[in-house]
């Protein structure tokens, strides 16, 4: 039993933390996250040069990591600065391409940006309701809220060919892509496919998609832990500084105990992400990923809402960094299956 990071991961964490703290200040983040193209291309390049994407793929796919703990290290750091770069799309695309045995040098170097289109308007999480179809190598349908889609060069799209659930590669130029900003910053796209030329990547892709989603869940949960940790520290700092009734509001027990409850849930979140990361790629990955996503959905809501409440009006402002952390933490719940969706999955499996 050992809960310390390996030396390599410790180095990755240190270099990412230094770089992001220096280059991705919250002012810069808010400037780029809400303006087209809803991320910063120069920073994307620097981030990939630091090896952030190589850490996400295993050696046999040309990467230098790819384990659950590699993913969680990278995304926890991204979460600490609520980084809007489209790394999640790269991760999930990389998982699919690894499953397909496809070359991903362009992806891992950051030269080509990938986004993954799984969910649809009426089937955001569950692949059984897909309506996008493939016919003669061409795709027709619409993929909704494709995270990072506004910046993508290539889409990996889940579609049905008859009864077979497949994954296809579609060039952005061959689809109608409408990019937009998200509530919590960063971008997404509506991707409309109308007889769009596509290359079959994986036939019978259920297991590959499940693995990509699980990896995405580990990433999102780690991102949430990073963001919650920062928001909690911000809140505790504020409790120590803000004075009312002639003393710091952090001397009031009612606020102290609520700040402790946030800490407790963050520690529980950290624990369940460690478990999910350890199980990623194994036979129980889906179960533990569902557990993690459910717990983090609940913890995230508590942390975000309590942070706003305990700050008072200041956290209601756009100017205060905490408000953007709160938004990101809340909105993570709606990605790759929310609290209820994953609770039902755990309950059904029991």
């Amino acid at each position: 039993m050992n809960f310390d990071l390996t030396e390599d991961r410790q180095m990755l964490q240190d270099s990412l933390r230094r770089y992001l703290a220096d280059k991705y200040t919250v002012e810069h983040r808010n400037k780029v996250a809400y303006e087209d193209p809803f991320h910063d291309d120069a920073k994307w390049t620097e981030l990939t040069e630091l090896g952030a994407l190589f850490a996400l793929a295993p050696e046999e796919a040309g990467g230098m990591g790819g384990a659950g703990f590699d993913i969680s290290v990278v995304f926890e750091e991204l979460g600490r600065v609520i980084c809007p770069e489209p790394v999640l799309g790269a991760l999930m695309a990389s998982r699919l391409m690894t499953a397909a045995g496809a070359d991903q040098e362009e992806l891992l170097s950051g030269a080509t940006k990938y986004a993954v289109g799984l969910g649809e308007l009426d089937a955001p999480y569950d692949m059984s309701g897909l309506t996008t179809t493939a016919k003669g190598g061409k795709l027709t349908g619409r993929k909704s809220i494709v995270y990072g889609g506004q910046a993508a060069d290539v889409f990996l799209i889940a579609a049905k060919d008859g009864d077979s659930l497949n994954v296809y590669e579609v060039k952005a130029a061959d689809a109608s892509v409408t990019g937009y900003a998200l509530m919590d910053g960063a971008g997404a796209a509506e991707v409309v496919l109308d007889d769009a030329p596509a290359t079959l990547l994986i036939e019978g892709a259920e297991a590959a998609i499940e693995d990509a989603v699980n990896a995405g869940i580990v990433a999102l949960c780690s991102e949430a832990v990073g963001a919650m940790d920062v928001l909690h520290k911000m809140t505790v700092d504020y409790l120590g500084q803000r004075k009312q009734f002639g003393r710091p509001i952090g001397t009031f027990q009612v606020l102290q105990h609520r700040a402790v409850d946030m800490l407790t849930e963050i520690e529980q979140s950290r624990s369940i992400v460690i478990k999910a990361a350890a199980e990623l790629g194994g036979p129980n990955a889906s179960r533990y990923c569902s557990m993690a996503k459910n717990l983090i959905g609940r913890a995230g809501r508590l942390v975000a809402e309590e942070a706003i409440q305990m700050h008072g009006g200041i956290a209601m402002t756009w100017e205060y960094p905490g408000s953007h952390y709160a938004k990101r933490i809340i909105m993570i719940d709606a990605q790759l299956g929310d609290t209820d969706y994953h609770l039902a999955r755990v309950a059904q499996a029991a």
Partner: protein, 395 residues
């Protein structure tokens, strides 16, 4: 990151598992499974079984007759003893006074009391709380005045768990009323058969007798029954609060509880189907299971820290808070799964062939009510939050 136990630790787990399979008598196992109070005879017999193996003083170093386990071995022992439906070791002599004497006692005290604790010669209870000193323990008033080579003790202790069985009580007493509260307290051992000691039972919410009031009227004990220095008892009390708290999450008990709730939900029929198939109930169980799964890891993470640093950190208060809340939730599910069939007072239908609850679950409501104590005792969850506020938040 490595969530696995070492091969040596796994071998130890197997050894513990085999030990319980071979040595835990069926009647003890059944009594634990039924829930409710265990008799003094059962607890003493269980202690003797462990003592024979050298496993009774789970936190004791070898020099005092303990197994010399580290935090991980203790954790494995706790998990396996829970899974085997073994009783919880009565903590007052073994988990509390023993370590206190080992750290603060004189050689004479160690030589006399420690073997008697292991051999079951003395049953110890704890004299901490008073009617006016609960969470604010340092405000305690029980007075010990030195008179020659004796202490004369007057006052009252309360919530004295299993005091009805006890031969001895270790007490925090006020020995200097004129200094700061924490600096006028001493740790004194009292033979319960001394004239002037009176034990009165407190009947608990579910009807059980596990705690007592203990009254002291001009109780005279030798001056040498003082442990540590005079007026330094608060240091000892604080030491006990931080000593070996990694088992405090009660993860083993909760894991057992979860399995029992799941099994129960398969037996209970609601709307013509097993309750387990009711999506609302299943979701409640799943949520508790998720919290428990995270708790298991939180517990292991803190064990790892304790092993690395030689002592558990203040974050173990998180284990107390969350561990008790999860266990209480599971007890609540066990009660609610039965619906009205949890309502009969324990024992009401015994011997009638008219049981309304599946076997082993007739006490679920009583267990639920009794278990509300866990977030109150051992430093209430609010006190734990105060501790975390100071140590982790720096507020």
């Amino acid at each position: 990151m490595d969530l696995n136990f070492t091969p040596e630790e796994e071998a130890f787990r197997q050894e513990v598992r085999d030990f319980f399979a071979e040595n835990l008598p069926d009647d003890i196992r059944d009594a634990v499974r039924r829930g409710g109070e265990l008799t003094k005879e059962i607890m003493e017999r269980y202690h003797a079984i462990l003592n024979k193996k050298g496993w009774l003083g789970t936190t004791w170093p070898k020099e005092y007759g303990g197994p010399g386990w580290g935090p991980v071995e203790r954790h494995i022992f706790d998990e396996e003893s829970c899974a085997a439906y073994a009783p919880r070791i009565v903590p007052f002599g073994l988990g509390m006074l023993g370590p206190v004497l080992q750290k603060f006692g004189t050689q004479e005290q160690k030589d006399y009391y420690l073997p008697r604790i292991l051999n079951g010669d003395d049953w110890w209870c704890q004299g901490y709380s008073e009617p006016g000193a609960g969470s604010d323990l340092a405000s305690l008033k029980t007075r010990a005045v030195r008179d020659g080579d004796e202490w004369v003790i007057n006052g009252q202790k309360t919530w004295t768990t299993l005091g009805q069985h006890a031969d001895w009580i270790f007490c925090l007493c006020r020995t200097d009323p004129d200094v700061k509260q924490q600096e006028g307290i001493s740790f004194i051992l009292v033979d319960m058969s001394t004239p002037g000691v009176e034990v009165r039972p407190i009947k608990l919410i579910e009807g059980g007798h596990e705690v007592n009031e203990v009254f002291f009227t001009d109780v005279r004990v030798p001056y040498g029954n003082l442990v540590g220095e005079e007026n330094k008892g608060w240091t000892i009390a604080k030491y006990l609060l931080t000593h070996e708290r990694t088992g405090i999450a009660g993860v083993g008990f909760s894991m057992l509880e979860l399995e029992e709730v799941k099994e129960l939900a398969k037996k209970v029929i609601r709307n013509g189907k097993p309750l387990a198939e009711d999506p609302l109930f299943a979701a409640r169980v799943a949520q508790a299971e998720i919290d428990l799964e995270a708790m298991k890891l939180t517990n292991l993470r803190m064990l790892f820290t304790a092993q690395k640093n030689g002592a558990p950190g203040p974050e173990t208060s998180i284990l107390k808070i969350k561990g008790t809340v999860i266990n209480q939730e599971l007890k609540d599910l066990g009660r609610r799964a039965l619906g009205p069939n949890a309502a009969p007072f324990p024992g009401s239908l015994a011997g009638t062939n008219l049981d309304v609850a599946p076997d082993g679950h007739a006490n679920n409501a009583a267990r639920y009510f009794n278990n509300r104590k866990t977030s109150i005792f051992g430093g209430s969850n609010e006190i734990q939050r105060n501790i975390l506020t100071k140590t982790m938040l720096g507020l």
